[in-house]
């Protein structure tokens, strides 16, 4: 099992009346950036990067950054900048960019170039995720959600060809046209950095990820739903005549580990509630704007019976498997059970949850590295860990 440490880099300093949902329908898109304080921004970025570097030092297999726009939920409009900042301050973890939002790019060749550069800066430790961007980001960057999937597909094909086919070549597509594609540098990893793609149950995505043999990563959902996604991915692979490597199935989940179950539940509550009840407060219209979801995906969503996150109480978030909370023994057991039930080989653990203070993030990171990770590794691995 591989463990990756995933940061969202949220803005924790919400206005005191943030729970007035008429005034603040969401932390994304419409919450005025007058609530952003640049002095605190400097502190936060450095603190958050320190946390990712700390995870590298503690032996996490990967450190993970992602992309969001115009939102206090996640403050990395450019994940590539964060990956660059981490590249020369870390040495062992894979740096996972999860991922570049391809449809939002006017010029996706820039993604091919930046990832190729990062592959060199990290000495081949880069994992390149590709995402469509959340619905609200199509408002934020003025890209039609109705074109989102076809832009994603074409941009992906272009980026991959730019990485793997000697240039110069020409590109004439529905969305993009280039007379000269000839990127310098080409990537270090051959044929290109590993590619990871998050999915939220869309059958098209499962099939596409399986066809390309990429890593499929879950997003916040109850265990029973994530199971249908991973099963769908394995089924799509089986239809293509292969069985996916468990390393290509990744469970992403917030995780809080305490000294024991009771204290963990007590301590985790407010941070988990911050994430799900405030960070993820958003209308269906901004998450799934018209045209963003295919009919089968929308139908699946409507039939899944999933409630909006803010309506799910903390206890239910834990029971249903949206988050993992507990003392060391419970967390170990829970991960083992989930692994057996879901069949994943990697975890994107979100150990900095919501507005958790820095010292608690460190404790969470340390406890998990010490109490949990060694149990899921080959016998030789814990010795390496100890040196960290």
């Amino acid at each position: 099992m591989k463990f990756n440490w995933f940061h969202l880099m949220p803005w924790p300093y919400l206005p005191p009346d943030f729970d007035d949902v008429e005034k603040f329908p969401s932390m994304s898109l419409t919450m005025s950036n007058s609530h952003f304080d640049p002095a605190r921004g400097v502190e936060l970025y450095h603190r958050y990067l320190d946390e990712l570097e700390y995870a590298d030092q503690l032996g996490y297999d990967g450190i993970v950054v992602n992309e969001h726009h115009q939102s206090g939920y996640g403050m990395m409009p450019s994940p590539n900048i964060m990956a660059a900042a981490l590249a020369r301050r870390t040495s062992r973890s894979r740096i996972m960019v999860l991922g570049n939002a391809l449809p939002l790019r006017g010029n996706p060749l820039r993604v091919a170039e930046e990832i190729a550069m990062l592959d060199h800066l990290t000495n081949g430790r880069l994992v390149s995720g590709f995402v469509r961007g959340i619905g609200w980001e199509h408002y934020a960057h003025s890209v039609s959600p109705a074109e989102s999937r076809s832009r994603f597909n074409e941009a992906h094909d272009l980026v991959k060809k730019a990485w793997t086919t000697p240039g110069p070549f020409e590109w004439y597509g529905e969305h993009y046209e280039y007379r000269y594609v000839n990127i310098w540098p080409r990537p270090l990893q051959s044929p290109h950095p590993p590619i990871a793609v998050p999915g939220a149950g869309s059958p098209e995505t499962m099939r596409w990820v399986a066809e390309n043999r990429y890593m499929y990563v879950s997003v916040y959902a109850p265990t029973r739903i994530v199971k249908t996604w991973f099963d769908g991915y394995r089924k799509a692979a089986a239809d293509l005549g292969y069985e996916p490597d468990p390393d290509n199935i990744a469970l992403a989940t917030p995780l809080f580990i305490g000294e024991d179950d009771a204290s963990a539940m007590r301590e985790a509550r407010s941070y988990v509630e911050w994430l799900f009840h405030r960070g993820l407060r958003q209308s269906a219209e901004i998450v799934f704007p018209p045209g963003y979801m295919s009919r089968p995906a929308m139908k699946g969503l409507l039939r899944s019976g999933m409630k909006p996150y803010p309506q799910i109480p903390f206890e239910e978030l834990v029971e249903e498997g949206y988050v993992i909370v507990g003392g060391p023994e419970t967390v170990r057991q829970r991960i083992a059970d989930l692994r057996d039930e879901l069949g994943f080989g990697q975890m994107m653990t979100m150990l900095a949850i919501g507005d958790m203070p820095a010292e608690l993030v460190r404790r969470n990171t340390e406890l998990f590295a010490r109490e949990v990770m060694p149990h899921f590794r080959p016998a030789s691995a814990p010795a390496e860990l100890a040196q960290a």
Partner: protein, 265 residues
Amino acid sequence: MSQTAQEPGTVPASRMEMGSGSISLFRAGAGDPVLFLHAAGGAGEWNPFHQRLSERFDLIAPDHPGFGLSDDLPEVGTVDDLVYHYLDVLDRLELDRVDLVGASFGGWVAAALAVHSPERFRKIVLMAPVGLRVPEAPVADLFILTPPQLVRALFSDPAMVEAVLGVQPGVDDILRSYRDMGALARYGWRPFLNDPKLERRLRRVSAPTRVVAAEHDAIVPRLHCERYAAGIPGAQLVVVPDCGHALYGERPDAVAATVIDFLTD
């Protein structure tokens, strides 16, 4: 934009092969042909407004590609494409010249058609049309409104708002309106429900034109109707009182009357 609950459809839709698939259209009545282009909502349903018009004219009311019962026709992705699509529809129906009526999004398509081929339209009615770039009075962001917000913005009569909101949509209803709005996003996400070039081209429209505004339009500000009326030579502006942007969904009789009066005058 859903319409109010209406009497059940009495005219069956027919299909017509177009491009890579087919579209659905209603056709009923006798007399001069009228092409009616629907708004973002209301595709696929025969409503009292259609009924009134069909009692006086040969009414042709197609669903735009991607809306209602029409196929997506991936080759039709912009309003410019829709102009050629409807010219093809008229050719297919062997109609050299028709009266043209368009509502909201359909009003934009109607204006673009009239700019392109003014000689094919005898008279034109644009009802609360979008299509102009008016940064000082932008069209409400239809895509981001929640369903209750949208209904409140569409109708001016609170009783009608309550009546519409009182009906719980089923999964199929949600999927249908999600598809219609998705088609609208295809045609009008960016530029947002406008063509920056349209306004200076309106001078090409040669048919007598009536612009119909709703008195209480919370979606398309009055200035849009005024700019259309100012830009189209000789156009007149009339206002339907006690009515929201839904227009023929809210006051079908009054709206049909102003359309019929103008076309038969």
